[in-house]
Symmetry: C2
Subunit: 209 residues, 2 copies
């Protein structure tokens, strides 16, 4: 449709700008409550000593997530989307109007919690993470294939709860591989810290490419 | 938009049909993995002895949910929506072409896991439940207000996990009341059975009105 076409043009321009400026942009998608904000907050806290970081966060309503992320003491912008269930490249461009991205090493973009529509909107990012919590069931990749197909890395969140929800890790990995063979999967718990070091290493490795 | 207008016409026709036939239709919306299928399976098992029941379930891909629900031994139809992130009245009408709804007491419709788009599409149901699991965080009603505004009852699911996730029940109830004052909230665990009797009583009470 015409809207997607316009979005692709805007996203391509953003991607070019980010590459020229040398800022590595990472977006996060997931279902509502999969743990994007908690994961992102922990990521910002771990990066801010050595790198210049900032984040945008999209939601239909409230500034809750921006307030939580602001605790990390880095520049945060909230995008209130109203009734739109996903972020678009143009919203990102507008939200950055007073952020000097050339002075950043990393920019994170937390999308609206939705496993469907965000898949169709490129935001100009270099890396897209799809977060999938152990509490949602092992079959989400099979049931929502497009969002896994348009992401680069799958982050399995809330691993501290895996035992209590009797999470079948092998079956979840099979679901991911069935939809996107070879996809990298990182097991993390933003709460306990498990897997967060490996994630930061992966991130820095990708940015250095 | 024109699509919503068409959907309203189709939904109104369905609602009239269901009222004429005397079948009480309940739809379920939630984020992905909040527990719609497990809750519905337990509901079908509890109703099937005394009532004639059936269910439709919408998903982008797989027949997983229909297969799980079919274990209850009642008529189930899967609606594969492809890339559409929500059910529409017309899909419901088509899926029912070989189901004699006049011979039913209850028809359940599980929507696609999505806390945004399903809010705009009336399916002709008499009762709409929004399920919200304790693992998603207490603020979902504030962040996704429209879906709570267009539902009749909020079902708080996976209560067996409330302690382990340190769920703040009072804060969750405040979020619901802030968005939809007076909304009925039912606490359930489809796994342990807690709250399921009260839900069945509420359902039968609503149907008898
Ligand atoms: N046990 C546990 N809980 C977590 C973890 N990460 C997040 N949570 C909890 O999960 C709930 C949702 O977390 P959020 O970080 O708000 O999730 P989100 O994906 O940002 O949610 P939305 O922005 O509303 O889509 C909250 O109650 C968090 O405390 C984790 O690693 N372990
Ligand atoms: N502990 C616990 N887990 C539950 C409960 N209900 C569902 N689950 C688990 O939560 C996960 C998702 O449950 P489903 O019933 O598939 O959720 P759903 O809302 O139908 O998911 P989608 O149809 O994909 O949107 C599965 O791993 C279930 O076992 C519950 O009452 N307690
Ligand atoms: Mg968030
Ligand atoms: Mg389901
Ligand atoms: Zn959408
Ligand atoms: Zn949608």
């Amino acid at each position: 449709t015409k809207i997607l076409k316009e979005n692709d043009v805007a996203a391509r321009a953003l991607r070019q700008r980010f590459e020229d400026e040398g800022v590595f942009v990472v977006s996060l998608v997931s279902s509502p409550g999969a743990g994007k904000t908690m994961f992102l907050e922990q990521t910002l806290l771990r990066l801010r000593e050595r790198y210049r970081v900032a984040a945008l966060v999209g939601d239909l309503a409230t500034e809750n997530d921006a307030q939580r992320l602001a605790r990390a003491g880095v520049p945060i912008r909230q995008i209130c989307t109203g009734t739109v269930c996903h972020l678009e490249a143009d919203m990102v461009r507008t939200a950055l109007r007073d952020v000097d991205t050339a002075k950043l090493d990393f920019l994170f973009i937390e999308n609206v919690g939705n496993l469907v529509c965000p898949a169709s909107y490129d935001l100009g990012e270099a890396l897209r993470l799809v977060l999938f919590s152990v509490t949602e069931g092992e079959d989400k990749p099979l049931k929502y294939p497009t969002i896994f197909n348009t992401a680069d890395i799958c982050v399995l969140t809330k691993m501290d709860l895996a035992d209590v929800v009797e999470f079948d890790h092998a079956s979840a990995l099979n679901s991911v591989q069935a939809v996107r063979p070879g996809m990298q999967v990182l097991d993390v718990s933003a709460k306990s810290g498990v897997g967060m070091d490996a994630w930061i290493e992966t991130l820095c490795g990708r940015a250095a490419r």
